[in-house]
């Protein structure tokens, strides 16, 4: 079974490279956005199977972008995971309360990261 694509939203180039390479090496197809606005546009255009959303972004932040995705009928049912370096006490609860489907803190453990993603999307 072929899974959909994964939209990675990340403004740090090196981290983007890491996630993209790891996902692609594991067999996922990826879409990339470095701003919240681009993320929403790509999500509407390509209906990815999963969105990995950084929170601290230039322009609108990840939480606002999530709100836009949820407000749009075409994207409202796409699962969105927060992928963030905001990992202080209480942050996990804060993001889950904000409506994210899951939470992955940076720095990620690659194995855990792939396991979490795999729970949402199957790959080739």
């Amino acid at each position: 079974m072929t899974g959909g694509r994964i939209l990675v939203v990340e403004d740090n180039e090196k981290n983007m490279k890491l996630f993209r390479d790891v996902l692609q090496a594991t067999g996922y197809a990826t879409l990339e956005a470095s701003t919240g606005e681009d993320a929403v546009e790509l999500a509407v255009a390509h209906s990815p199977a999963l969105v990995l959303m950084d929170v601290q972004l230039p322009g609108i932040d990840g939480v606002e972008a999530l709100g836009l995705l949820r407000a749009d009928g075409r994207t409202e049912s796409i699962p969105v995971l927060a992928l963030t370096a905001q990992a202080m006490q209480g942050d996990r609860e804060r993001f889950l309360d904000a409506g994210f489907d899951g939470y992955i803190s940076k720095p990620v453990d690659v194995a855990d990261f792939l396991q979490t993603v795999g729970a949402y999307v199957s790959h080739d």
């Binding site: 090196k14 981290n15 390479d21 090496a25 370096a85 905001q86 720095p107 453990d109 194995a111």
Partner: protein
């Protein structure tokens, strides 16, 4: 048609409201008086003292008047008695004159009922009797004399008294004449009869006037007694009235004064309680122009200053929080790439790595993880120091919390060949605290113990109840800690030589543990002897027994 409730008496709350307004107005007047509390108290005291003096003076005056009334009555009673005596004697005189005029038979009273032969002697005795009775009217000897009367009669009485004296004088002269006649003739001759008539006419007049005087004095006495009684009653009423008014005035004065003092004190106290609870939004309104007013102004100034400082503190704290959050984020972002790429290579996602490369990758990974622990611990410690760690205090099962803590190090212990055991006191059930933070402390102690205990050793977690606290200990069979290090290791970035040699740990775990235990109101310490292992102990408050 009137509504029924319009006809009803004012309800209790309404009366209270009216009373409250009256109280506020009166105490407001006193409060706004520009004088110190001491002056106000002094004035009130003096007013009450003055009132006492007024009541006393009034009482003395009334007492004096009552005495004067009694004296007047005494004088009147004396006069009245005198008049009555004159009246009685006048009656006797009339009787003796009547007997003398009537003749023989009537004279028997003077002879014990025996008719004596010598009638002339009997007349003489009768006349002597008349003279004797006459002398009992003590008005004068031979002329009218007030000194003989013994008091000064009022003018109206005096006119009558003079008339009585004239009558008396007439009778006295007549009796003298008759007595001369008695000596000359042996029997009561015809010459005496007209003289006796003259005496009797004068005696009638005297008696009538004496009766008039006595009855006038009698009714005067009655009137004076009645007047005195009513004067006594009204002076008594006046005194009672003035006393009641004084007491009410003193009470009212005291009440108003105390309202004007107690009200502001109560308001100040309430406001201070609010300020200490962190409410700076309201101001204290005290109208007093005395010490209490100045107290209120100072409370308001303190409120404003505290409010300003509190605002600054909040801003500073917010900046500090933001700084910590930003730092955490900024440090984690590059670490993500460092750890992530190392893991990718280590897992050979993009091809083979040789042995040396794998070793270096492990070094990068462990250094990266170490750095991550440091970041976490530093941030945790900063938050504790900034007072930004808020404990989520709840009652929880100590047993379950410790079991979870043990699970977290079980794998590591197994790898190191260290035996882990849990010996829980059945005396302890629930403790009160932040479970997550307690687990953090337990995990720190356990991972240290497991780390430093050589293969084949053991680590034991035990609990014990001491007083109102739960004591949790982690005992290992590791190398032990030198006495000189036993305090130091709880400070930031301080490790034993053994710890430094391990090249593991941030040197912050025990410092953080100590802060967290102290935040719970507990203590943490270590008992150790080099070569004989270590025993780390900390205390937690027990959950309050539910009733």
């Amino acid at each position: 048609m009137a509504h029924p409730e319009v006809l009803e008496a004012p309800s209790a709350p309404h009366r209270r409201a009216v009373f409250g307004r009256l109280r506020d107005r009166l105490s407001g007047v006193v409060a706004r008086a520009p004088a110190s509390v001491r002056t106000k108290l002094l004035v009130a005291f003096l007013a009450i003292a003055a009132l006492l003096v007024v009541v006393s003076v009034l009482g003395l005056r009334e007492l004096g008047q009552a005495n004067a009334r009694v004296e007047r009555l005494d004088a009147l009673q004396l006069r009245s008695a005198k008049y009555q005596a004159i009246e009685a004697t006048a009656e006797d005189l009339q009787q003796t004159l009547g007997v003398r005029t009537a003749g023989t038979k009537s004279l028997t009273p003077y002879t014990g009922g025996v008719t004596l032969p010598d009638r002339g002697r009997i007349w003489t005795l009768a006349d002597l009797q008349i003279r004797d009775v006459l002398s009992q009217i003590e008005l004068a000897d031979d002329q009218y004399d007030l000194a003989v009367i013994g008091f000064v009669p009022p003018p109206a009485d005096e006119r009558v008294l003079r008339r009585i004296f004239t009558d008396w004088l007439t009778i006295s002269r007549v009796v003298s004449r008759i007595q001369q006649l008695d000596k000359r003739s042996a029997h009561g001759g015809g010459e005496t009869r007209p003289l006796l008539n003259t005496a009797r006419v004068a005696g009638d007049d005297l008696q009538a006037r004496a009766f008039d005087l006595a009855s006038r004095a009698g009714s005067e006495t009655k009137a004076l007694v009645a007047a005195n009684r009513s004067a006594d009653a009204s002076s008594r009423n006046l005194l009672i009235g003035v006393s009641i008014v004084s007491v009410l005035f003193a009470l009212g004065l005291g009440l108003v004064l105390s309202w004007s003092l107690v009200g502001p004190i109560q308001r100040t106290e309430t406001r201070l309680a609010e300020i200490s609870a962190g409410d700076f939004t309201r101001r204290l309104d005290v109208p007093n122009r005395d010490e209490l007013g100045s107290l209120a102004r100072n409370v308001n100034r303190m409120n404003d200053e505290l409010s300003r400082l509190y605002g600054e503190l909040e801003t500073t704290n917010r900046h500090k929080s933001e700084f910590l959050a930003n730092m955490s984020h900024e440090l984690r972002t590059p670490l993500n790439a460092i750890i992530g790429f190392s893991q990718v290579l280590r897992q050979r996602l993009f091809g083979a790595v040789n042995e040396k490369q794998e070793e270096y990758l492990d070094d990068i990974l462990s250094s990266g993880n170490h750095l991550l622990s440091l970041i976490n611990d530093v941030l945790d410690l900063s938050k504790v120091e900034a007072g930004q760690v808020e404990l989520e205090i709840a009652d929880f099962s100590l047993r379950e919390a410790l079991e979870r803590g043990v699970v977290m190090v079980r794998e590591r212990a197994a790898q190191n060949g260290v035996h882990l055991s849990l010996e829980l006191s059945p005396e302890i059930d629930l403790v009160s605290g932040d479970e997550r933070r307690l687990r953090q402390v337990v995990f720190n102690l356990l991972s240290n113990a497991v780390k430093f205990t050589p293969r084949g050793g053991s680590v034991a977690v035990a609990t014990e109840r001491t007083g109102g606290e739960a004591q949790i200990s982690v005992t290992d069979t590791g190398p032990g800690i030198a006495p000189g290090d036993q305090e130091r290791i709880f400070e930031e970035f301080q490790q034993t030589d053994v710890g430094v040699g391990q090249r593991e740990g941030t040197g912050l775990g025990l410092a953080l543990s100590r802060r967290l235990v102290e935040l719970h109101g507990g203590r943490i310490w270590v008992e150790s002897e080099p070569g004989h292992g270590s025993r780390f102990v900390f205390t937690m408050p027990l959950a309050r027994a539910r009733s």
